[in-house]
């Protein structure tokens, strides 16, 4: 009898600790979701505001008495129609796609080769160069655009979107190289030694082993390069002034802000359309992107 009582006591103690664990877990989840909901609402406000404003008539936008978060006087697509048919928006879009594609391609080729060399072909000064690459990235572009203006002016490239293809890699290559160095460094050394014995040369090792294994890192770097070349504002503002060479960021603003008149509907429609490609890219590649950025934290 005593034994039974004692056993029951032990059982209830066990159950008690289980219940307490469950309760803790539930509270932790509740707190996490609460924080996430606040976070999501906060960051979804701007795009929601853009969407709502872009679908309002000019009259409703100008009427300060209406609720800015709701469409009260009917939906209109006039801003989108105006943007796509009466402005050079499509030209900006095309130019931006060209610039982003070239910048991403150039960045990835240089970064992958540089990162492979710096992480695997140990040579004199490779450690210093690797650190130097990252330090270069820390120099803000607001300091660089004046000397760069002189340089590209000297090269006769001012007022052409090709200047951006030349200049953006100065921002993207250092950071992407740094990401790739970290990712390549997490690949065990035995893997390249195995490939070396299997008969691979350095280029085959890079193409057939390193790039496939480091794909998440590669995608993270690609997204970064794409985002920089898609969203940069300062360089196109400084280097380009013709409509037919302009890119989305500066083009949309200069077209839809005339003096002190802001075409809010058009601006919001333009911003929304311009933001769509990066959002779509992120949505598809988010898992790889996160895995790429956190590789150093979890791999030995």
């Amino acid at each position: 009898m005593t034994n039974i009582v004692r056993n029951n006591g032990a059982l209830s103690a066990l159950l008690g600790s289980k219940t307490s664990l469950h309760t803790n877990r539930r509270w932790a989840l509740f707190a996490s979701y609460a924080c996430l909901i606040v976070f999501v609402i906060f960051f979804l406000c701007p795009p929601f505001y853009m969407l709502v404003t872009s679908l309002k008539t000019n009259a409703e936008i100008a009427n300060l008495a209406t609720n800015p978060w709701l469409i009260e006087q009917g939906i209109t697509t006039e801003h989108y129609t105006h943007l796509l048919t009466e402005t050079a928006f499509l030209t900006y879009f095309k130019n931006t796609v060209i610039v982003a594609t070239f910048v991403v391609a150039i960045t990835m080729v240089i970064s992958v080769l540089a990162a492979y060399a710096l992480s695997r072909l140990s040579f004199w000064g490779s450690g210093v160069i690797a650190t130097g690459v990252f330090l270069v990235y820390l120099v803000p572009d607001s300091l660089l655009f004046i000397p760069l203006f002189k340089i590209v002016g000297g090269l006769g490239l001012l007022n052409s979107y090709w200047v951006l293809v030349l200049v953006y890699p100065t921002l993207t290559v250092p950071f992407c190289t740094w990401i790739m160095i970290g990712y390549f460094a997490s690949i065990p050394k035995e893997l390249d030694e195995a490939a070396l014995i299997d008969g691979a040369n350095h280029m085959q090792m890079l193409l057939k082993v390193f790039i496939p294994v480091a794909l998440p890192g590669l995608i993270a770097a690609t997204i970064f390069a794409f985002t920089v070349s898609w969203a940069s504002f300062l360089y196109p503002l400084a280097f380009i002034y013709s409509d037919n060479q302009m890119v989305l960021t500066v083009g949309t603003v200069t077209t839809l802000i005339k003096g002190d008149v802001f075409h809010w509907g058009g601006l919001m429609a333009g911003a929304l359309l311009a933001a769509a490609p990066p959002v779509i890219l992120y949505a598809f590649l988010m898992d790889y992107y996160i895995s790429g950025l956190t590789s150093g934290a979890t791999k030995g």
């Binding site: 065990p188 035995e190 893997l191 030694e193 195995a194 490939a195 070396l196 014995i197 299997d198 008969g199 691979a200 040369n201 085959q204 057939k208 082993v209 496939p212 294994v213 794909l215």
Partner: protein, 362 residues
């Protein structure tokens, strides 16, 4: 198939010498195991044979051809790594065929070789899986398969079983032995596990501090160690060592272990030990040659048992003599208990004497 020859092989990392001028001849089809403690230079030697590490001085020949400056891919060798080094993005088939594809073998030949190797290793049903879907043992088989398909002149194994649990390690040891008997390829195998070394090798190379201490068959290393280090390294539990003196007493040689214990040297060793009378020596005896006194035997010593290790078919007893803890092996029937005093005897014919100055076994 090829022989491997190392001549005055040196390797230095900055100012640290990892391998200090070793000479070794490995015959065609031979299975040689390099064994030694961490940092003894065994892996560095293997990596130099593979071409993964540059040679500081000396020569390496494979099949008579000097390969000092030949890149790994042209040495016709295959290597199995400790952590498998499988390509994680490739299937087992792609992993095993990678080397053949790089060498542009015909597809049918690749298919045949991979399937043959997979059958030998019992991994035919795993060919379409990726490494992360395999257990440790299966991964090691794939790593071996990748080496086998190339049909190289020399196999190199760098501690391939270290990541496996004890049972799997034993299974894989048998597997490696079986594969070697099947293929008869010259094999150099590195391990720090002396059981692996003794069970797998035709010849074992014991290394210490970048030097070869002894090369011999497992039996030679066990029964006739040449140095103090080899005597202590080979065998588990390790050989017992006690400082001693060799003295002459009415025409016979005696080993004096402190003030209390004296052992008569077997007559056949008299002439060998004669020059060392009066010199500082170390007496060595393996635990299996120290056992409980049986009827008709003289007791070596009455000792108090410190603790025991019952292993089922035998029990290891630990006791202290002259302040040194020693180990003996008794039958489980003797049923020794800690604190109990027991009478032990030794097989004096199995003793070793080591010169303290040179560390050489006499």
């Amino acid at each position: 198939m090829a022989d491997v020859s190392l001549t005055k092989l040196h390797k230095s990392f900055d100012r640290t010498e990892a391998v200090c001028g070793i000479d070794l001849e490995i015959a065609d089809n031979e299975f040689v195991v390099l064994v030694g403690p961490s940092g003894c230079g065994k892996s560095t030697t293997l990596r130099m044979i593979a071409g993964l590490e540059e040679i500081t001085k000396g020569d390496i020949r494979i099949g008579g051809e000097l390969v000092n400056d030949v890149p790994p891919k042209d040495r016709d060798i295959a290597m199995v790594f400790q952590n498998y080094a499988l390509y994680p993005h490739m299937t087992v088939f792609q992993n095993m065929s990678f080397g053949l594809r790089l060498r542009k073998y015909p597809k049918k030949e690749i298919q045949r070789r991979v399937e043959d190797a997979a059958e030998v290793l019992g991994i035919s049903e795993l060919l379409q899986r990726r490494p992360k879907q395999l257990s440790g043992g299966q991964r090691q088989r794939v790593a071996m398969g990748r080496a086998i398909v190339r049909n190289p002149r020399v196999f190199l194994f760098d501690e391939p079983l270290s990541n496996l649990d004890a049972k799997l390690r034993q299974q894989m040891r048998i597997e490696i032995k079986r594969v070697h008997q099947h293929l008869n390829t010259t094999t150099v195998y590195v391990t720090h596990d002396q059981v692996e070394a003794m069970t797998l090798a035709d010849r074992v190379v014991v290394m210490n501090n970048g030097l070869i201490e002894q090369v011999g068959t497992p039996g030679e290393l066990y029964h006739q160690p040449r140095t103090h280090f080899v005597a202590g390294f080979i065998g588990s539990p390790a050989m017992n060592f006690l400082d001693c003196k060799l003295e002459r007493n009415s025409g016979n040689l005696e080993v004096k272990l402190g003030d209390m214990l004296t052992l008569q040297v077997p007559a056949d060793r008299g002439s060998r030990y004669e020059p060392y009378v009066g010199r500082g020596l170390v007496f060595g005896i393996r635990p299996e040659h120290v056992h409980e006194k049986r009827a008709g035997e003289d007791a070596f010593a009455e000792v108090m048992v410190n603790f025991i290790e019952p292993l089922g078919m035998e029990t290891m007893v630990y006791f202290t003599i002259n302040g040194v803890e020693l180990c003996g092996r008794v039958s489980p029937e003797a049923d020794p208990r800690p604190g109990q005093t027991i009478s032990l005897t030794i097989d004096i014919g199995k003793m070793h004497l080591i010169e303290s100055e040179t560390n050489l076994v006499l």
